[in-house]
């Protein structure tokens, strides 16, 4: 039950944040610097939602950082964990 509460509380916090649609905020720059570490940790199976809780939460509410994340996660997964490399 506790984890349910944690995720719902996080949702409430996220819903309280104005969504960034067309501009990069100062905080976004610092989050984007962290993205390679985040993406690598996620690919390695680490619990990134706990280790990088702020960044994980930010990705839910910032479409620009989410788009950066998606691009980098796709690139990294294709380069390091592609089926062809198996």
């Amino acid at each position: 039950m506790l984890s349910l509460s944690v995720n719902v509380q996080r949702l409430i916090t996220q819903l309280s944040v104005p969504v960034a649609v067309t501009s990069v905020r100062k905080t976004c720059v610092s989050y984007q610097i962290e993205l390679p570490a985040f993406v690598s940790a996620e690919l390695a199976g680490d619990p990134v939602d706990q280790i990088y809780a702020d960044l994980a939460s930010h990705l839910d509410v910032c479409v620009i950082c989410l788009s950066e994340y998606e691009a980098l996660a796709d690139l990294t997964a294709s380069a390091l964990a592609d089926e062809d490399l198996l």
Partner: protein, 285 residues
Amino acid sequence: MLKSDLLDTLAFDYARCCQCVRQYLTAQGWQLADPLELASQIWQDLSAPLPSESTAVKAIQTQVWQRYAVFLHENCRQPGSDRCEQAWTELYRWLRQQAHRFTADRDEQDSLVQLAISDLQARLEQSPLKAPRALWAYALQTMRAKMIDEHRRRTAVMRGDGLELSLEEISAGQSGPAESDWEEHISDHETSERSVEDHVANEQVRQQLRDFFRTHLATDLQLRVAEEHFLNGLSPQEIARLLGKKPHEIRMIKARIVQTLHHLPPEAHRKLLDILGLPPGEDLC
């Protein structure tokens, strides 16, 4: 069951581990580390139960790219040594191998890799990466940034949502509503977290949230992800394993769910407030 017993049943032994390591290193063009030494370290450290051959192979490969990134990062930061030069050559070749993901034009690929390598050399000369195992992702991010810079230089404008926006404006960042609002909202909500926790630990609320998601989420996959994450407390990685998808695919879906909930019509918005047990008048956004 001991690790060795488990792996024996999978016919996954040290020899197979060495084969996987060698195969992955070859596919990536990584030649600086001794495959046997690397395989031996990985084999010793494999502790998690490996339920299948494919899981075992994945786990080994994940270990290889992480360890090799640390190894390469270390060598790239020893200027003057032969190893350093070899390390940069290898990183260059690896990026060259990845460049087709950014552009089909071979000349552009060459230029992109050169720019990225210069940037990386300057960066690593300054200081080490905080997370050396992220070297690959960092290098890819650098190359992507160079590609965007190049695109900006050529076009100076891009389109978004039907509006023509200057890139300078975008990168300068019009922050919109005060950035500090976020922190304030977070602390505003801290006091009500305990009551929320109590409130959601209730089957009735779970059912209401489930019904709400069913009404307002667009696809079955969004609904499944919402239920697993918000109702069952699973992380995106756990959901990805459950659904046989990549973690970032689930994270994207989860983000879209949050964005959908962010843009609910006022009536639905109020209903969500009620379900979440927030006091009347406490607006979310």
